[in-house]
């Protein structure tokens, strides 16, 4: 087994763990955490693919690596926006969960 394969398996498990947590955990903050696990697993898969594409004296294919850098920054922005929304929901309702029926009073 090569290190790339090992980290590849790691990414597969991270993706599964993140997906499960995002689907099952009732707390939005924990869903956001799980989504970050899912994202990390996805990025790691890019990394494994990059490593397997090592050539031209580079330790890995720079194209997927650059995509991960873009992806990490986008994932952080998403986390920040989702958390800010959650905090505002909490300010307005005093609750940290989303379990409520569809809005009744919308104009």
């Amino acid at each position: 087994m090569t290190p790339a394969t090992l980290y590849g398996l790691c990414s597969a498990v991270l993706v599964g763990a993140g997906l499960y947590g995002a689907l099952v955990n009732p707390q939005p903050l924990r869903k956001i955490l799980a989504l970050n696990l899912l994202g990390s697993g996805t990025f790691l898969l890019f990394g494994v693919i990059a490593r397997r594409g090592a050539a031209a004296g580079l330790g890995g294919d720079p194209v997927p690596q650059a995509m991960v850098i873009t992806g990490i920054v986008v994932a952080f922005s998403a986390t920040a926006l989702a958390v800010a929304l959650l905090l505002r929901v909490y300010q307005e309702t005093g609750r940290t969960t989303l379990e409520q029926p569809a809005p009744k009073d919308v104009v």
């Binding site: 991270l14 499960y20 689907l23 696990l37 397997r52 720079p62």
Partner: protein, 311 residues
């Protein structure tokens, strides 16, 4: 099994153990702390995958800045955290089945394909001298796939506007955060003591990379932001009011410069987002420096959150 592989295996086990902890911990705060550690270990994994640029970004943004957002949120939500019932058993089983299937499929593919993957490394390296650069990842970000990078900057601006949009109308233009932070919060002070050494090590690494090729400066924005945040979170400086002209200028100047340089490319043979051969390097460095400033300020303000006080 070689010693290096054994170390890799240990690292993977730690990463996975933390992942399960993040999902399973009963309270949010310990789960978030687990996530910060998870991010730092992941940065090590990236180094093991020979991806130094990604390792830096992961440590600074994936673990550091993201951790700051999550920790602050978990602290604010701590008092209201309730035991919400998990979904019904059939739903959980369905979710387990789904995620298990995805993991199995990915693991199967990872084991199935063992040979070298198709790669653009050769092409990426081949054109670097023309750009006057040494770092291929930076070459991809600032030249070959510059459009993605440019649009990602717009994503950052939209995220910042999105967070600001959550302000109450009476606080529009005001200062982020519920109150000026006094240096009393234990968790944050602890973090303020733990993180700077790591941040400094990473910053030194970036300086070192920057000495040999210009690419190092690009990821610097994240580190700068992390340092600025630490200063704010520790209560040493307050966040700026979002109506300040310098704030608006700092967040927009980088993307604006990038777009402007991109448009001047229309005057060159290769068109939009191409750089003239003779001054490619200084031009790229100039764009990167301005971008670094904007990225640092945007990331810092994303963490600071919507205005919650009058200026």
């Amino acid at each position: 099994m070689s010693l290096a592989l054994l170390a890799d295996a240990a690292l993977v086990l730690l990463v996975l153990g933390l992942a399960f902890w993040i999902n399973a911990a009963s309270r949010a705060f310990p789960a978030v702390v687990g996530y910060v550690a998870f991010g730092l270990l992941l940065a090590l994994a990236w180094l093991r995958l020979s991806a130094g640029d990604v390792a830096m970004t992961e440590a600074a943004v994936g673990s550091g800045v993201t951790g700051a957002v999550l920790i602050a949120a978990s602290v604010r939500l701590r008092s209201a955290e309730t035991e919400a019932p998990p979904p019904a058993l059939p739903l959980r089983l369905l979710a387990l089945l789904l995620s298990g299937l995805v993991t199995a499929a990915l693991a199967g593919l990872v084991l199935w394909t063992t040979g070298p993957a198709p790669s653009l490394a050769d092409q990426a390296v081949q054109h670097l001298p023309g750009l006057g650069m040494g770092n291929a990842v930076t070459g991809v970000l600032i030249a070959y796939r510059a459009l993605d990078t440019l649009l990602e900057k717009v994503v950052l601006l939209l995220a910042l506007m999105g967070i600001w949009s959550l302000a109450k109308d009476r606080y529009w233009g005001g200062i982020p955060g519920p109150s000026r932070i006094q240096p009393t919060n234990g968790a944050l002070i602890l973090l303020a003591r733990l993180l700077p050494p790591i941040g400094i090590v990473v910053a030194v690494y970036i300086l070192w990379v920057g000495a040999t090729d210009p690419g190092g400066a690009f990821q610097g924005g994240a580190i700068l932001a992390a340092m600025w945040l630490l200063v704010m979170l520790a209560g040493l400086r307050d966040a700026p009011a979002i109506s300040r002209p310098w704030v608006r200028l700092c967040v927009t100047v980088g993307p604006a410069a990038f777009i402007a340089v991109g448009l001047t490319g229309f005057a060159l043979p290769n068109g939009f987002l191409s750089y003239p051969d003779s001054i490619a390097k200084p031009l790229i460095i100039a764009v990167e420096s301005v971008l670094t400033l904007s990225i640092a300020v945007i990331l810092g303000l994303l963490v600071a959150g919507p205005p919650e006080r009058q200026p």
